[in-house]
């Protein structure tokens, strides 16, 4: 087991290095310059050159990369160009904010969507199936920036149940923090239900077709028993993997929800950093996201045998 974990971590190293190089190259291929963005159109040429030199942007690209990567190896991700904050604590702090919302939404969505998907598969092609798939597709096809705003206008503005702007950290005031989290979590939840129902349905269908289910049915086990004892446990495995993928993707896609609900999270940080050409933050964020992604999938793989008795981690 330990050897498996170590090997997986070792295998992640080349992925992270490739990631680091490509992020570095890509963000610098994009036109635009953090110094000129910072100074706006009021600066003269001397000020601009000075700012560029201060940020080290006047050096050659390989030189810049060597400096940055050398620092990363020593655990220093640099400082933000826009705010001057150290990148690592900044990323960690914002990540925690996003992770709370994503985890809550995905957990709730799995609890609802996985059984729903299984029921849909079990009653394949019935009216129930069509209704579930239809609902899932409808939810899936409302972009989060629309869904979020609808919730905001209805529950926040019209009914006044939840605050429409602002954010409170969980550590400051847990009660208020939960109140601020309801709408963003609900937005992601509704969206992810759509994704997960379809996935759970597809993987259950796969399982239901397998021989041993037919055997189980032939043995005269009740449908409930077949579904619970055989289908559910076996179908949950692949769905679990997909939940891992969803978690990873969400970290990239949460920027929209964070924009609508004024949440100081990682997604917003990344998008702002990209638009502001805040190179150290973009690089740090993405390296971190890649790392989290690797870790999440490792954990998912380690837990896989718990859900799927056919597979062992080794």
């Amino acid at each position: 087991m330990l050897r498996f974990i170590l090997r997986r971590l070792l295998m992640a190293v080349p992925t992270l290095v490739i990631m680091a190089v490509s992020v570095f190259v890509l963000i610098r291929l994009i036109p635009g310059d953090p110094a000129s963005l910072m100074l706006g159109d009021l600066a003269n040429e001397a000020t601009l050159a000075e700012a560029r030199a201060r940020l080290g942007l006047d050096r050659s690209l390989p030189e810049q990369f060597a400096i940055w990567f050398g620092n990363v190896l020593q655990g220093d991700l640099g400082r933000s160009i826009t705010s001057g904050q150290a990148v690592l604590p900044l990323v960690l702090q914002r990540f925690w904010v996003s992770a709370q919302i994503v985890l809550a939404a995905v957990l709730l969505a799995s609890l609802v969507a996985v059984p729903a998907g299984m029921i849909a598969a079990w009653r394949q092609n019935s009216a129930t199936d069509l209704a579930l798939v239809g609902t899932a597709t409808l939810l899936l096809s409302i972009p989060t920036f629309w869904l979020g705003l609808l919730l905001l206008l209805f529950f926040g503005l019209k009914l006044g149940w939840f605050p429409v702007v602002g954010y409170v950290h969980l550590s400051e005031d847990p009660g208020a923090a939960l109140l601020y989290m309801v709408m963003p979590v609900a937005t992601l939840f509704l969206h992810e239900i759509g994704v997960l129902i379809r996935m759970a349905r597809a993987s259950t269908l796969e399982v239901l077709r397998l021989d041993y289910i037919t055997h189980a049915r032939a043995k005269g086990l009740s449908e409930g028993a077949v579904l619970w004892r055989h289908a559910f446990r076996n179908a949950f495995g692949p769905t679990w993997t997909l939940i891992g993928l969803v978690l990873g993707n969400l970290l990239g896609g949460i920027a929209i929800v964070e924009t609508v609900f004024t949440i100081p999270g990682l997604g917003r940080l990344l998008v702002d950093a990209i638009f502001g050409r805040d190179y150290p933050v973009v690089q740090g964020c993405l390296l971190f996201v890649a790392f989290v992604y690797v870790m999440v999938n490792l954990v998912i793989d380690l837990l896989y045998p718990v859900f799927d008795p056919r597979v062992t981690a080794e």
């Binding site: 000129s36 159109d41 009021l42 003269n44 605050p163 702007v165 954010y167 109140l179």
Partner: protein
Amino acid sequence: MKIGHALWLGLGLLASGPVAAQSVTVALKADIRGTNPGVNRDDDTDAVALHMVEGLVAYREGGTVGPLLAEKVDLSGDGRTYTFRLRRGVKFHNGADMTSADVVWSWNRFMDPKTEWRCLSEFDGRGAVKVEAVEAPDPHTVTMRIDKPNALFLDSLARTDCGMAAVLHKDSLNPDGSWKAPVGTGPFKFGEWKRGQEVILTRFDGYVSPPGDKRDGFTGQKKALVPEVRFLVVPDSSTVKAGLEAGRIDIAEIVDSDIPELEKSKNVKVLLGSTGGRHAVIFQTTDPVFKSAKMRQAIAAALDINQIVEVAASGRVKPNNSTIHSRSPYYSAVQARGVTYDPARAKQLLAEAGYKGERIKITTNNRKTAPSFNIAVVIQAMLQQVGVPADIDVVEWATHMDRFLKGNYQIMVHSYSSRFDPALSFEHFTGPKRSQPRKVWDNPEVQQLLEKAAAASDEAARQKMFDELHTRMLDEMPLIILFNQLDAWATSARVEGFTPNEGRARAWGVSVRN
């Protein structure tokens, strides 16, 4: 069901209960970049900082310069020595008296390259002037000597992006000399900065305001009436709208497309003004198609600027083809002259210019804070009408700035930020392209005239030169200035005494009704 309802009701009360009474919440589009004035900044950062710190002089309404921490400013006969007499009794947030020693200390700190003051090159001889000596002959007097007479010296000191060359107390720094937090003389004190979320400022009870009973730009009556102001980061304009309606946001800059809807709301007041920011169509005069002035004039004649304003600013500002704002004392009858919409003449000019139907590319950006994209869409349609096919190339802001700075465009819809003095305003787009590719108007004669205007201090003489520059600009048409930036703000119904001010929020003089 009933219990559920009661629970929701309970939560609802929690959610909509009164915000800390008397506190005013101002929406910011993005988090501030720092609290160190004039170092790492953007417009919102300046706006927040200028609640806490003040300079010797400041912009008044309309863009002239007036005293702030100074009581009086005298200029010596040779035009090189400025004497600032400081207002008495002014205190820093930590209770210390503000004296000439603090002014000198602050100035020396700004002039130290380690401070990374963005305006350093304006004062160390690389730009227009070199400040040779700053002295404190007595605790209430400061003198500044510059190398040659310059009409724009006080203007530069007042610049908001330079942090007003603010007078700070030594306690603003850590013992090792690094920046801590502003200890200034402004009407509000620094409270807390929750990064990515909000900045909280509290009223400075020991504040001594400049005389007068009215606010006047960044000077005049500056007393704080509310005990606390919170600058809350709200990036999405639709969320801002909902926040205003719900009474969770008290003051916010709004986008022009939201004006009609918010004006109908009973919970919200809309306040409109215009800033010195200029929306313009700029030509690359080295482009084969736009080398000819006739061609550029043809485009100008094809544009119905009233309609552009209708779409891009909900018709709430007037077209202005001058680089000088209509509130400026330099806005003469000559400056009011502009381009006229005449499609027939446009077609005739196109023919005279030898235009052969080349496709034109209009470059612009999709920034939500400026109507550039909307302007481009309308212009595209208007050019179509006179037989000029055009494509719109929309890029995001950083890419737009890159192309702007490199002069990499054919036609660009661009917005110049506010520059109050007409000479600085012309300088924004006038200059040699070879050393400054961002410049649009490259004409040595014009350049000379502009330099003369910058050095002159006689107002009548300057007026004549600015009028000549405007006439020549319309003649050569290196760019078409369309209209000034709409300064659109909304406040919740309980707020009183707020007025727009050059796109910068002002919380002093604002009170709330309960």
